[in-house]
């Protein structure tokens, strides 16, 4: 059998059998959350949410914070709003303020519909990111409502009081909608299409000639919330 030959090498076979070793590096960002105390995780997440809140109150040029969406902030805001507004009921007039569930539904379904509307109009935005931004932008209205709550506790009902309340809520309404415009303004210098808050966010993602169509429902959405806050008794 000529095919099979005894092959012999004069040079002995050498080499490493072991697998090439990957230098062991601790990937802190990825793995450390597994064995860190719950407290640390909690505090870190709270910091992220807190920085987003700060971002809504005081829009800055570093507006990339809202890029990673989360729904914790909106949930907290929504629950505060719903708890405060819940259950104003007048037996004699039969009038009823919004109930907890109603506020909850208005906030989440409203944000969802506004987002869907923007997407249907051809906006290039992700669903949850938009819901996240819309949810965080409730913050000025929630703050206005808490102030109103203290005012109700302190002062008697009077016409001056009502006017102060209306001005306060109107300012918060404007803040919810147009405060984020500052962010867009700054964002214009950065060539990134992700813009971070309500009008700015949704408006910029729209094709030209449709911004007003996307912005109008946002105004409507915050208007219904503002109306709830201003009529809260």
């Amino acid at each position: 059998m000529a095919d099979f030959q005894d092959v012999s090498y004069s040079v002995p076979v050498e080499g490493e059998i072991a697998q090439p070793q990957v230098p062991e590096e601790e990937d802190d960002d990825e793995l450390s959350t597994l064995d860190e105390p719950v407290k640390d995780t909690f505090i870190r997440d709270m910091k992220v949410i807190g920085s987003k809140f700060a971002h809504i109150i005081y829009p800055r040029s570093n507006s990339l914070l809202l890029r990673d969406w989360d729904l914790w902030g909106p949930l907290v805001l929504c629950v505060i709003l719903a708890v405060f507004l819940n259950g104003a009921k007048d037996e004699t007039t039969g009038g009823q303020g919004p109930q907890f569930a109603e506020v909850f539904v208005v906030v989440w379904v409203g944000a969802g519909i506004v987002t869907l509307n923007a997407q249907l109009l051809g906006g290039k935005i992700s669903f949850f990111q938009s819901v996240c931004v819309l949810g965080y932008c409730i913050l000025p209205l929630v703050v206005a409502m808490i102030i109103c709550w203290f005012l109700v506790k302190i002062f008697e009902q009077s016409i001056v009081f009502v006017v102060i309340r209306i001005i306060l809520v109107a300012a918060a309404y404007g803040w919810s909608i147009f405060g984020p415009c500052l962010i867009t303004h700054l964002q214009c210098m950065i060539p990134i299409t992700v813009v971070t808050a309500s009008v700015a966010f949704l408006g910029d993602s729209q094709p030209k000639g449709r911004k007003a169509l996307a912005v109008f429902p946002i105004c409507l959405f915050y208007f219904i919330l503002a109306w709830m806050v201003v009529t809260y008794s």
């Binding site: 007039t93 509307n117 109009l121 990111q129 449709r210 169509l213 429902p217 709830m228």
Partner: protein, 316 residues
Amino acid sequence: MSDPVQDFGFQTSPNEKELWEPTAQSGVTDAATLNVENDEGDMHTFTQFPDSAIDDENAETSDTSGLIDKKENPIWSFAFYQKLFDVDTNIVLNRIMGSMIPLPSKSFKSAYIGGRPDLYGPFWICATLVLVVGVCGNLTTLLTHYSDEKYHYTPQFERLSVAAIIVYSYTFVWPLLVRAILWWRKTASGFSVADIMCIYGYSIFIFIPVSFLLLIPVPWLDWLLTALAISVSGAVLLLSLWPAFRDDSRQIAVVVLLVLFACHAAMAVGLQLYFFTPLSISYAPNATESAPSKLNLDHSTSLPNPTGRSFEKNGQ
């Protein structure tokens, strides 16, 4: 989840995009020449290629763009609704203007919709109307009792739900019925459900400004405004729907259109009665005072102890 392209801040510039997706134009001009030599030694140089030879992906996109008008997307698909929201701001504003000016020569459908019905307008006009009617209805109650010292305002939030049910079912469910009538009479194939919803949705726009005017507490003016709004929007509605029934027998067409107009008027009058009629005084907090006197007037003979009755009433 968020779109990775957006998350990482990538934005393909037009040039870059062209690199990846060459347009048909550049595909032709940049195409290498293909030389073919046949048996006789003649040489022919092809410089033009059929569309299918350029790029599969490219050909596909151009195909679908041609099909969009012909192929119906299924009702559960996103694209189906995207088509119905394919409007620009000025189109919507034009349609809103058109919905308030009834012209016999210019049907709203042919002049403004023209085969491209949208649901953006109807949906958000309804939402606005619900909100405006709810808020103005609350303000009406507030204004009526404003001089009353004891009146304590409570928002009537449940009225919003009522308004939403009335307005949305009138705009989005009622047209289904209208389309069913058309289908039953086998006339007017040119009217789709979306067309009719669009006509209905825009036709109720006029009630939004009228709702603000209804805050003026003058009853005859309120009724005049409502009648005006009903006749204007009703005229737009009937003029646009008339072509659908034109081919039918005259009597049926007239009867159906009258019924539609009556429903339109009923919806508007119902909204006005429910939201803009101030709550009767007997429900107000000062009922404790007014109720006994009222009872005194009504039942002075039959009721020996009116105060006892009034306590009963309060307890309810």
